[in-house]
Symmetry: C2
Subunit: 141 residues, 2 copies
DNA sequence: AATATGCATTCAGAAATCAGAATATATCGT
DNA sequence: ACGATATATTCTGATTTCTGAATGCATATT
């Protein structure tokens, strides 16, 4: 699983490495995913719910982020949890936002996607909340 | 000149703005150009000489950087000098390099393109040096 | 006005990206 | 083993990016 087919070996210079990194960041949904991950690891179903995108689509974008080394994944039962691969990525997002703000002459901010509406997916991290809200009668445990 | 045809108005959210910025940075030659500009403004012929690329190619990449708002241009006679649009862009490059280094587990550095060989183009900023080296007899002034 | 120089734009084919649809895989509960 | 759930991958056509070649435009010089 997660086989990285393309072998760049070390044929690339620093500029090309950097370019590949920036390319992976050059997509609004991927940026949204990273923004969510800044708050902590999240499973695919959570991202699916928060971003309001189809599962396959989320997985595709996660693959790009994985290939770029931006995120790491960890399987726990049926769920796969993703996290930022390094703290420096969070700092990079801040710098990028600062630059974008300066360029636009306007203070941009990355509002958490789907702000407001409470997100309930079926992962073990979300379920404890929703179980008591959606199930009638005696809780399952 | 420099007509920005596409009108994004304000239909874009912050994530899309950021994505567009990152996309513009997702190209090794464009990153090299920005790296040169960190040392100060440079004309096209200078970039051409430093990067060893054809003029039209440099101009094309500069157009992308202009469209993204990353650089500004200033005409002086026959030369057009480009500079970074904002200091924050320099900081962004540093952050990106730090993140890329962390991801690769290797300390990357952006060696100035064409390091070593002295660059002499025909712009007024380069000519003062070469005049006395290439012209025989009495200096022109 | 004619020419040269520096820079910008357009054009075109190849390659890469985008995103929806369908399908495959892995794990869990029964 | 079977079905259900969570996630991953493949396929495909539309769009975009990439980059070389050719051309256009502005400014300076004569």
């Amino acid at each position: 699983m997660h086989i990285q087919v393309i072998e760049y070996g070390d044929l690339m210079d620093s500029y090309s490495h950097l370019a590949r990194l920036m390319k992976a960041l050059g997509h609004p949904v991927r940026l949204q995913i990273l923004q969510v991950l800044r708050e902590g690891e999240a499973c695919v179903c959570h991202l699916e719910a928060v971003l309001g995108q189809r599962q396959a689509y989320i997985s595709q974008q996660l693959m790009r982020l994985r290939d770029a080394g931006l995120v790491t994944d960890r399987r726990e039962g049926m769920n796969v949890f993703y996290s930022l691969a390094d703290e420096s990525i969070s700092a990079l997002l801040d710098s990028a936002l600062a630059a974008a703000s300066a360029i636009r002459g306007e203070n941009l901010s990355l509002a958490p996607p789907s702000a407001g509406n409470p997100v309930t997916c079926s992962c073990p991290k979300c379920r404890p909340v929703s179980v008591f809200q959606t199930q009638e009668g005696a809780p399952t445990r």
